[in-house]
């Protein structure tokens, strides 16, 4: 018998009930996508979600700004990079939303695409969603969204349309199923809640550890 069969046989011999009944129960549970207890803290209107998200994200060392339209993202990005004293070179995914921004309004900015290079100082990603209850952005890997952008640079900037800022994790999963198909996932889904940190030496929190020093979220109110 293979290890697989030995292990499964041993488990089966130790479980109550019939295998058929277990299969039915599992199918039911998986198909239901049932939510368990959801904390109240994230539930509320857009203003509530925005203020909670901002409080939690800034509380762990991230920064948040809001702009009115997608077009305003360009200046916000350029200004934040300049303020951080970083070279005017920006790597971003090939995603159409970001590609169609009026980048000509930041003429000094060099735009790069593709996976992150260790020499990159700054990267820009489009969030799939944001979650108010823990101040978290969700990013999906894909042809237009290299996951390395989230980890290699000094400064990682994330564009989050306000319409995608939801209350709780349970609000995200239906959106994900609608975009990927039930049970299907991108290769890598990152839930990011602040810049990289460690407390491994004497429980003292130090930023950054291995990931970005700064995480800047630009929330687009009208998108």
């Amino acid at each position: 018998m293979s290890a697989r069969e030995t292990i499964l046989a041993r488990i089966r011999s130790r479980l109550p009930g019939t295998e058929a009944a277990r299969r039915d129960a599992v199918e039911l549970h998986l198909a239901a996508h049932g939510a368990n207890l959801v904390p109240l803290r994230g539930l509320g209107d857009g203003d509530h979600r925005l203020s909670l998200f901002t409080r939690l994200m800034t509380g762990v060392g991230g920064s948040v700004e809001t702009v009115e339209t997608l077009a305003d993202v360009v200046q916000a990005v350029a200004a934040h990079m300049a303020a951080a004293g970083l070279p005017p070179s920006l790597r971003k995914g090939a995603d159409t939303t970001l590609a169609h921004l009026p980048w000509h309004r930041a003429p000094g900015l060099t735009l790069l695409s593709g996976p992150a290079d260790p020499a990159d100082h700054t990267t820009l990603s489009l969030a799939f969603a944001g979650v108010a209850e823990s101040g978290t952005v969700l990013l999906l890997s894909g042809p237009d969204n290299p996951a390395t952008l989230n980890f290699l640079p000094e400064l990682h900037m994330v564009v989050l349309p306000a319409s995608r800022l939801v209350s709780c994790y349970e609000d995200v999963w239906p959106l994900l199923r609608a975009s990927q198909g039930d049970g299907l996932m991108p290769s890598t889904l990152n839930m990011i809640s602040g810049p990289s940190r460690t407390a491994d030496i004497e429980q003292t929190i130090v930023r950054p550890a291995h990931g970005p020093r700064d995480l800047h979220v630009i929330i687009v109110v009208g998108a």
Binding site: E133, P143, M185
Partner: protein
């Protein structure tokens, strides 16, 4: 490394006499407790979420065969490979095979307790590979050739000065005159040293906190981002994990994530929570080209259906260690193997046999704090008692202890009486001073030495705790 569980008493004595360790424990233990308490206070539903978390894990364990098959099918559909390992040896062999096929030289590693459990680094080194731990705490213990002393903070036993000395010893190509006198300088140095390893590695190995059956995703949580760089940069990513890590759906994973970080570090959620499903897709510009997941049993399936089953709910948050007076007194290394603290004392006998771990179930005062804080409500004191019964039945208990143990068990099964006995004992100690004969109770010396039983008030730890909880 061979288990040293039989040396618990001796290692504990050494730990109590180790000033550096004692200073570390006193400096960090209360911080963990405080952070968790704050996180709990900030979320009114926290204790109800713990019930939900317990129920999810119970449901999984009752349907584990089917969920494992579901998980496997999803991983394969996403282009990943699933390997089953009955023993630690099989798990090592599977991984060595993959690494050999990849002609791997440098192997980066994310923090994984299962990797420690199977002794993976020794095996990789023995086969000529170079494993490099990338979690800062794991890196620190790797360069010291030590075991982790805590399941989420592996280097919690170390002080800054020790780490500075280690970095000077190991990072010999850096300027000897550099300033390493503060913690951020040490972290910055580790960041620079490890960065090149991510880029050069041929294989990345991580653990998993959860396996989502409905989507075939392995979830890792880190604060550093090291697990992600370990997954994303090399050509091949291997996840080593164990069969009880299954959760059914993303909704269920959400519930467990809500209690995990709060219990562990007092965060609402860890900085990076990553769902990894198969290798990069055909059109993806980055991510691993090959993805393997090794599902280890190593005695866990044998625990199903026994009085010990509840231990399989554990999500390795470390809260029971942080709240354990014994762990806080002696630190993690005294336990002599991979998993320390209350959960270690429960899991270790199941994994390496009670005959090899007979001392551990005795490393408890039965104060009950571990069960009070466990996010999946594992009745740790009850499980410890079951092991003591087994140990007693199998006559593994030394004769001198056997008679005393009867009295101890009698008290331990009667919390009220136990509390009374401890209060009396504390007052007795107060009267006798530190050299009191009560020091012959298991670990009482550890207690009084590091913790200063509040003799002036004559209160026990339990009494004080109750007051603080109010």
């Amino acid at each position: 490394m061979q288990p040293e569980t039989a040396r618990f008493k001796e290692l504990s004595r050494a730990a109590l006499a180790n000033d550096q360790l004692q200073r570390s424990m006193v400096a960090t233990g209360p911080q963990f407790v405080l952070k968790r308490a704050k996180a709990r206070a900030a979320l009114p539903e926290f204790d109800d979420l713990r019930n939900a978390a317990r129920d999810i894990k119970n449901h999984v364990l009752a349907h584990l065969d089917v969920y494992l098959e579901k998980f496997e099918a999803r991983v394969q559909a996403a282009g990943g490979h699933v390997h089953w390992a009955e023993t630690a040896e099989e798990a090592r062999a599977i991984i060595l095979n993959i690494c050999a096929a990849k002609k791997a030289r440098l192997i980066t590693k994310g923090k994984s307790m299962v990797s420690e459990e199977v002794g993976l680094n020794e095996a990789l080194e023995g086969a000529g590979h170079t494993p490099v731990e990338t979690d800062l705490g794991e890196y620190l213990i790797q360069i010291r050739n030590e075991r982790p002393s805590h399941i989420i903070a592996p280097a919690v036993h170390l002080r800054r000065e020790q780490i500075e000395a280690d970095f000077r010893r190991v990072h010999t190509d850096l300027d000897p005159a550099r300033d390493l006198s503060h913690i951020p300088a040490l972290v910055e140095e580790a960041r620079r040293v490890l960065r090149q390893n991510y880029l050069d590695a041929d294989v990345g190995i991580t653990g998993a906190n959860f396996l989502v059956a409905g989507t075939g995703s392995a979830i890792i949580v880190t604060n550093e981002g090291n697990g992600d760089l370990t997954r994303l940069m090399p050509e091949t990513h291997i996840v080593i994990t164990s069969i009880e890590k299954i959760v059914p759906t993303l909704e269920d994973a959400s519930t467990l994530l809500r209690v995990l970080a709060r219990s562990a570090t007092g965060q609402d959620i860890s900085t990076y929570t990553t769902l990894m499903t198969g290798p990069r897709r055909a059109a993806d510009p980055d991510g691993p080209e090959e993805f393997h997941i090794v599902l280890l049993d190593n005695g866990r399936s044998q625990v199903l259906g026994t009085e010990f089953q509840d231990m399989l709910r554990c999500i390795r948050c470390g809260a029971c260690l942080n709240h354990c007076p014994v762990y806080q007194a002696v630190g993690g290394h005294a336990y002599g193997w991979v998993y320390p603290g209350p959960i270690g004392s429960v899991v270790t006998p199941a994994l390496i046999g009670i005959e090899n771990a007979a001392n551990l179930p005795n490393a408890s005062t039965f104060c009950g704090r571990c069960e009070d804080v466990c996010p999946v409500r594992i009745p740790l004191p009850r499980l410890l008692r079951h092991w003591r019964e087994r140990e007693f039945e199998q006559h593994l208990t030394p004769r001198t202890v056997r008679s005393g143990l009867g009295a101890w068990a009698f008290l331990a099964k009667r919390p009220k009486l136990y509390g009374l006995a401890m209060r009396l004992a504390a007052r007795f100690l107060n009267w006798r001073g530190r050299a009191g004969r009560i020091a012959s109770l298991p670990l009482a010396r550890g207690w009084t030495r590091t913790r200063d039983l509040p003799a002036a008030q004559g209160k026990t730890f339990t009494e004080l705790w109750r007051e603080r909880q109010k």
